[in-house]
């Protein structure tokens, strides 16, 4: 009853936007997609509060809440299992219905549903409105689909955690904000989602907040993101100053006419938006928070810090494709920062021992690829890589979660204090966790760019586009793009290396867990491996929906036998068409060959062979090394130490940013605030007191003095009156 009432209200939303072609696209309950996770948040939030109260009562009575007591688990602990994944699964189904409906019609313009007026002051109007088009549809599918799988996985991973309902409350809230972000019809509403996911990221990184280090990691993520948010805000102000609206449709329609190509304003807007993206999507120079964010539960790392939230910056740039196409400097910066980050983060991943840290730097690196894609005008390729990355990186993180879960159990049995996340303590897990082993290899081959896995098609297209863009007839900085192309190619090889290293150290070779512990290593339960297998299937076949035309016709596309062809490219055409047209007008056609010759198919084969070669090389090199458990391992020396310590970037930031900031704050506190400001305020007090003391000297108490002063006063007044 409640649901139908809400449905009616949602249906009542007005519709704008026009459709062309046969049949109109009628969205199916788009508001409910956003609303469902919020409902889940409210229910789980209430359960979490009840649960926290019950625990507090138990603690006050001198015990603690026993989850496995005789009465079975309390309702507050069992209900989130159904509510949490349930609402996200429903949202996914509704999204699927919308997707099928959109497939049937050719939608030229986004469909905007306005629900109510959110801000209405002076000339600034923002409506609470959702926008459905091909781009937001892809994002909705990825967000709800991957979220659902990770929610299911979480049931197994977090099931024994005392704060289980709180976990699902936060996770549902995150999905709500992420859907707001990707479905918003204006930058202002997008910013709501943008900030909301940041909040949930903070809450979930510091989920185990009693651990000081974890709470600090959450704080770091939040503070670093604020720097990016500043850029996003400034960009919005600049945009508003020119267009007097922040709605996507009018801004993008008026952009080409209202902004000079390559002008100062558009460059500033794109660069400030990109500053926001570097914060949210962990790019140089603001990437430092993401590796620390691994302090959160592993499914959170998979969902927020790999598959969805961190890709928000890529989505934003792709959404603003018209603006970026108008600014060659802005686009070159996006691609340059992306290429540098892709390479730089990959080098750090080479020497990390914490399994989650390897994956974290890998994520930073892969996000760099996506920015290369959207920076060279290959918006579809960037979004395509975003999608495939969501599959295989989500899978890698969940696989790592399964390993950590199993390791943790084994170490818990013997009360060992060894690090459950250190790969030096693992080794030979293949025997104990065969399913995890297979799916992790699928993801590794996908991310390394091995044909026919998803990563091959998505990553290869980005690298190819980076090279081809530099060869465009009027490319702004051709040599620069050649450099990006080399960086991207090198990063691809590093990726293959560090991923193989991770697999070999974790699953192959002798077991280093300890004999007693290894007897307790178990494969994960079905609730955890079913999502893994689903994601593995997506990592294998997901790339086939966007095989570039030339590859598709060659043997790499089985001579056109792969069913989908360039589907994604065509699907996103209506969204990216305007940007492509601007690019074609000002830059001419992109090159048909890579910077040093060779066609798309040739380079596809080359990158595939290189990836295989690097995997084989890494297999031999890492496989032949004798690892010992972390506690007995000697510290790295030389260059390996530099990589292990992450190029000392955290130390560098500490020296040039954190310490000066702290001493400046101390100066402001001790000298300016306590000295000058308080000095002035206290000084006024002392002044009043001094004047009072001086005045009291005249108050002798003897009548004569008063009479004298009175007489003098009369004389003065008389003098004034008379003269």
């Amino acid at each position: 009853m409640l649901l139908t009432g809400g449905t009616a209200a949602l249906q009542a939303g007005t519709e704008a936007g026009s459709q062309s072609g046969a049949g109109a696209f009628v969205p199916f309950l788009p508001g409910l997609v956003v609303l469902l996770p919020l409902i889940g948040f409210v229910i789980n939030g209430v359960l979490a509060l009840l649960h926290a109260r019950a625990s507090a009562v138990a603690v006050r009575n001198g015990g603690e809440l026993d989850l496995d007591g005789p009465g079975g688990r309390p309702l507050t602990h069992t209900l989130p299992t159904w509510v949490g994944p349930g609402v996200v699964g429903l949202a996914f189904l509704i999204t699927l219905v919308n997707f099928v409906r959109m497939l049937g019609v050719h939608l030229e313009e986004p469909v905007v549903r306005t629900y109510w007026t959110w801000i209405d002051t002076g000339t600034f109007h923002v409506a609470a409105a959702l926008q459905l088009d091909q781009l937001s549809m892809v994002m909705m599918l990825v967000v709800t689909g991957v979220s659902f799988l990770i929610h299911v996985f979480s049931v197994g991973y977090m099931g024994d955690d005392p704060a289980y309902p709180r976990y699902f409350a936060y996770l549902n809230l995150f999905v709500f904000f992420m859907l707001t972000l990707v479905m918003a019809s204006s930058y202002a509403l997008m910013f709501v989602g943008w900030e909301g996911v940041g909040l949930c990221s903070y809450l979930l990184i510091g989920f185990w907040f009693t651990d000081r280090e974890k709470a600090d990691a959450g704080k770091k993520a939040f503070v670093v993101n604020r720097i990016g948010d500043f850029g996003f805000l400034v960009a919005m102000f600049l945009l508003f100053s020119r267009f007097h609206t922040l709605d996507f449709v009018p801004v993008f329609h008026g952009a080409a006419a209202g902004l000079a190509y390559g002008g100062g304003l558009i460059t500033a807007i794109t660069l400030f938006f990109f500053l926001g993206a570097t914060g949210k999507s962990a790019q140089i120079p603001l990437y430092i928070w993401l590796p620390d964010a691994m302090a959160g539960p592993t499914p959170v790392s998979a969902l927020i810090h790999a598959a969805t939230m961190v890709t928000a910056g890529v989505y934003m740039v792709a959404r603003s494709s018209v603006l970026y196409a108008l600014s060659p400097v802005g686009s070159a910066t996006v691609a340059g920062v992306g290429a540098l980050t892709a390479f730089f983060a990959a080098t750090i991943a080479l020497k990390q021992y914490d399994i989650k840290k390897v994956l974290a730097y890998s994520t930073v690196s892969q996000l760099g690829y996506m920015f290369v894609g959207v920076g060279v005008g290959a918006y579809a390729a960037g979004i395509f890589h975003l999608m495939t990355h969501a599959f295989f990186k989500g899978l890698l993180f969940l696989g790592a979660g399964a390993i950590i879960h199993s390791m943790h159990h084994a170490l818990h049995h013997t009360h060992s204090h060894a690090d459950a996340q250190d790969m030096r303590n693992m080794g030979g897990l293949r025997k104990y966790m065969p399913i995890t082993w297979i799916v992790m290899w699928v993801a590794t081959l996908a991310i390394s760019g091995v044909w026919p896995f998803a990563g091959f098609f998505s990553k290869d297209e980005i690298i190819w586009q980076a090279g081809a863009f530099g060869g465009a007839a009027h490319a702004p900085y051709p040599r620069l793009y050649t450099f990006y192309w080399i960086l991207a190619l090198a990063a691809a090889l590093l990726t293959a290396f560090y991923m193989t290293r991770l697999m070999v150290m974790t699953f192959h070779g002798p077991n280093r867990t300890g004999t007693e512990e290894s007897r307790h290593l178990r494969e994960t339960p079905a609730v955890m491996w079913i999502p893994l297998v689903t994601l593995a299937a997506l990592s294998l076949f997901g790339g086939w929906i966007n095989v570039p035309e030339k590859l598709h016709q060659s043997f790499l596309g089985l001579f056109g036998a792969l069913p989908m062809g360039e589907w994604m490219h065509h699907w996103l055409e209506p969204v990216t068409a305007a940007a492509q047209q601007i690019q074609a007008t000002h830059l001419g056609a992109v090159s048909e060959s890579a910077p040093f010759g060779g066609g798309e198919v040739l380079w596809g084969v080359v990158s595939f062979l290189l990836a295989v070669a690097v995997i084989a090389f890494a297999w031999r090199m890492v496989g032949s090394r004798k690892y010992v458990p972390a506690e007995e391992s000697p510290a790295d020396t030389g260059f390996a130490r530099v990589l292990n310590r992450k190029w000392y970037v955290d130390e560098l930031y500490d020296t040039i940013v954190v310490r000066p900031l702290k001493s400046t704050s101390r100066f402001c506190w001790k000298v300016i605030d306590a000295g000058v400001i308080d000095g002035i305020v206290n000084g006024l007090g002392y002044l009043a007191r001094g004047l009072g003391w001086f005045g009291s000297l005249f108050q002798t108490g003897t009548v004569n003095t008063y009479a004298l002063i009175l007489s003098l006063g009369v004389l003065v007044i008389l003098g004034v009156v008379i003269f």
């Binding site: 009291s696 108050q699 002798t700 108490g701 003897t702 009548v703 004569n704 008063y706 009479a707 004298l708 007489s711």
Partner: protein, 97 residues
């Protein structure tokens, strides 16, 4: 005649004022105040020649108030004298803060 009276009145007033300011004996100060009042009275009476009868009427008021004041003032002085056994005003400095 008026001018001479005004000069005399001014002189009497100055003498009274100085008496109040300089002398420390409460009785003398009291008498000096009376002198000031009567200096004013003299001025009123003298000026009534020029301005009319109002000045002379006002003198009666002043004399009435002065009589009342003398009654209260002397009572206070006697009460102080009983307490401190002196009428030197330098000793009376409670009239502060």
């Amino acid at each position: 005649m008026v001018v001479a009276s005004m000069i005399l009145s001014a002189l009497l007033f100055v003498v009274g004022t100085l008496g109040v300011l300089i002398r420390r004996n409460a009785i003398i100060m009291f008498l000096s105040i009376e002198l000031q009042l009567n200096a004013v009275n003299l001025a009123f009476v003298a000026l009534s020649r020029v301005w009319g009868i109002e000045g002379q009427i006002f003198v009666f008021f002043v004399m009435t108030v002065a009589a009342a004041e003398a009654a209260v003032g002397l009572a206070i002085i006697i009460s102080i004298f009983r307490h401190y056994e002196t009428v030197n005003v330098n000793n009376f400095n409670l009239l502060k803060w």
